[in-house]
Amino acid sequence: MSSNSRRLYLLGDKTLSVIAKGLNGLLAAHGLPWEVVDLGYDTWLREIMDHSSRACREGDAALGFLLSPRILERPHAGRGDMARLLDRLSELAPARTVLCSNVFADPLRVQPLTQHRELTRAVAQINEDLYAFSEVNSWFHIVDHLGIATREGLRHIADPRYEAAAQMYFSPAGGRLVAQGWLRVLRALSRPSAKVLVVDLDNTLWRGILGEDGLNGLEMGPAGAGWPYHSLQKALLQLKSNGILLAACSKNNPEDALKALAEHPDCLLRPEDFAALEIGWEPKSQGIRKLATRLRLGIDSFVFLDDSAFERAEVRRALPEVTVIEFPDDPALLVTSLCDCPAFDSLRVTLEDRERSASYAAEARRDELQRVATSPEEFFRSLNMKLTLFRADTAQFERLHQLILKTNQFNLTTERLTPDEFRGMLDCQEKLVIGMRVADTLGDSGVVGLAIVNGVGSKSLTVSTFLLSCRVIGRTVENAFLSWLLSRADATGATEVHLKFHPTARNDVALEFLKRSGLRSSEDGLTWSTPVPPSSPGFAVHFVKIDDQVV
């Protein structure tokens, strides 16, 4: 196991060794930096209540509670034990990364007809407690055992023979499915989710070929042959409301495709639901490249859905960074294929996620303003940009941490802090964590920038993280952010500021910024420094109004 891997202690009420082994195999196969350690049979309460146990002592290890329906057979249907567990987890400071399964009922017991009500209620109560707890504790993540049991069926995942033989609730086959569920949560904890879904139109978004069948020949209604496409469109709207951008890339006449999207009576997705469209006759890989440029997003945050094996192969070959969804043989399984693709998994949906599509629509209007403006200055002035700087706190924790995980391009160091590491910095006297919001006449872009300043109180400040979401770069916001940072350093008695830089395959734009900034580079190029107040003029800030809320 690599030295960079994080440990996850697995605790439960039954034997977990088979699942732990399977999960370690899956993690290795997917190159995920986690090592699962099984803490043994029925250890979930014992380990966590004993302050000297491994699980409590080793604060940097994550904890995973993998529970079976057998906990419902404890007094008060297990609810008291669960409450004790959650209380104890709140106490364990600093807060740990914790994964916990939700519960489902195992109705395979005597008197099923009279007991189901009681059991179902107990399950609903425990799960409600878990969801409420996870909503206020961003370090607590739920693994959806209930969903797995519902999809796969109890007889398929549990087997009393293995429980009799080895105290395993989940059969070896069931354990594999459970391990897959845990894998997806651990994956989402370690990897940023994809940002854009690019869909083809003909025989993907609707049944039929626009160029041959005409607008009226296309089927995508809620009944009949259009149903699979109707369901897919509903699923896409759901993705969109969770912050995934939709884009279309199709070989068609642009006017015809736009007309079909705008006017077909059964089409749920309208042109304004798409952040961008690439309709034409170029290779799809070209189209996706153009979409990436227009949306200012990295190619590796794109997912591609297309019914044509030829197009999928062309994109796979030309753009190996793109996640290509395997199109099902039967379109009725389209939504299933989409759900099986882990690329969009994310554990939290922030306010910014929900508003992302609207924000991209505003961006399109900004592009239009820029196009008609006679000079860049006139354009920037017309935007009336306002930058709000604030001290990061727990209220903005999720969004700020998401920026740390997701920002690739304008990111000086791309240091992917874990939630625990980042949380530790918020209360640290020696550090200042600054968040930045940007708004202009066309809309509020939300929290889009972050800087972490080290050495607060001393003469020499070091900035270890300085990043901006790609949505706002190129509008002089980055210049204003740095200028503000340098004047604050000056005002608080520092005499020099150092910005750390770490080159990656993706952050050229950050390096270009440093080169323009007037800061001096160290010989290895990894530190960019300036005395404060700066000796060289640096950036002049004309177009941005600054609202300084950092106290």
């Binding site: 060794s17 088979v18 082994k21 023979r161 293995y162 009799a164 080895a166 070896p172």
Partner: protein, 79 residues
Amino acid sequence: MAFDEQRFQAVVMQSLQITEKQFRRDLRLGDIDEWDSVAHLDLVASIEQAFAVRFRAEDIVEITSLEELRTRILASQTS
């Protein structure tokens, strides 16, 4: 029905994640590191699936050798 030894060997090798070299017809639980009590449960389940047999719960723990596995598979196929 003839016993499909080739299939049997493939399932054992795949489940225990061992090479042809490590495979022996007379392997017993514990003979090699790869066949420990955890791998054992997965092996039994893989055999059940591949040969469409269902062992009794007590057999799952009592079977401790490939020879016993073969005997149980044959018994279930002829019954």
